[in-house]
Symmetry: C2
């Protein structure tokens, strides 16, 4: 059986996110290497798959799934570059947060070994 | 004369930044299209080359040049994806700010028509 290529891995991984929280967790479990290094650069940094999965719970209160607009994607060897808009959503489709970002994935032997998302997390507003 | 390709344009553009403020401004002038759309996503957005050049003055007090570690770069058609560390420096080499980021450039006819850098700009710290 051939190992899926980096582009296929990343697209399949992200393709699971909109389906629901169970599928989102399962995708992290299926596609991250056990020692995957995952960063939301300047915000969070984890060094194991288990810690990455645990981090999902901190993304947004009430999160069920993440819809993604893939604005651009490119592969160079083991690296996959993405420009995306991620929509963190509740189960009823309500958008909790919209994040414009770029992310880079390094894929080896069919698993994501490094993943860095870059975006500006604005400080909480003081209100209307 | 052939038009330089997107990868060459981006590498030449960024290659000027470490040389000094005059060269940095000149690089913006030489390589951005007149109606270039340049965003530091979530932070600033400009729609002309002149406005982009004016924005340089706001990057950091005392800025002279920008050194760049190009961690990864890839081209897909007219798009160039970069993962970088940008070091905003004074003339004596003192680093004013270190920015981990990804940026995407869209190049047409040898000029940058779109440029988006993505990074987390931490709010100013309240002190030690």
């Amino acid at each position: 059986m051939s190992t899926p290529g980096p582009m296929h891995v990343v697209q399949t991984f992200i393709g699971e996110w909109p389906k629901g929280l169970a599928e989102l967790r399962q995708a992290f479990s299926d596609w991250l290497a056990e020692d995957a290094r995952y960063e939301n650069v300047g915000l969070t940094s984890t060094g194991t798959r288990d810690d990455a999965i645990a981090l999902i719970d901190t993304f947004a209160e009430g999160l069920d799934n993440i819809a993604v607009d893939m604005l651009a994607i490119a592969q160079d060897g083991e690296r996959v570059f993405t420009e995306r808009v991620d929509y963190l959503r509740k189960a009823d489709g309500t958008v909790l947060a919209t994040i414009r970002l770029m992310g880079i994935f390094v894929v080896r032997d069919g698993r994501i070994v490094e993943w860095r998302d870059y975006f500006h997390a604005a400080p909480p507003s003081g209100g209307a």
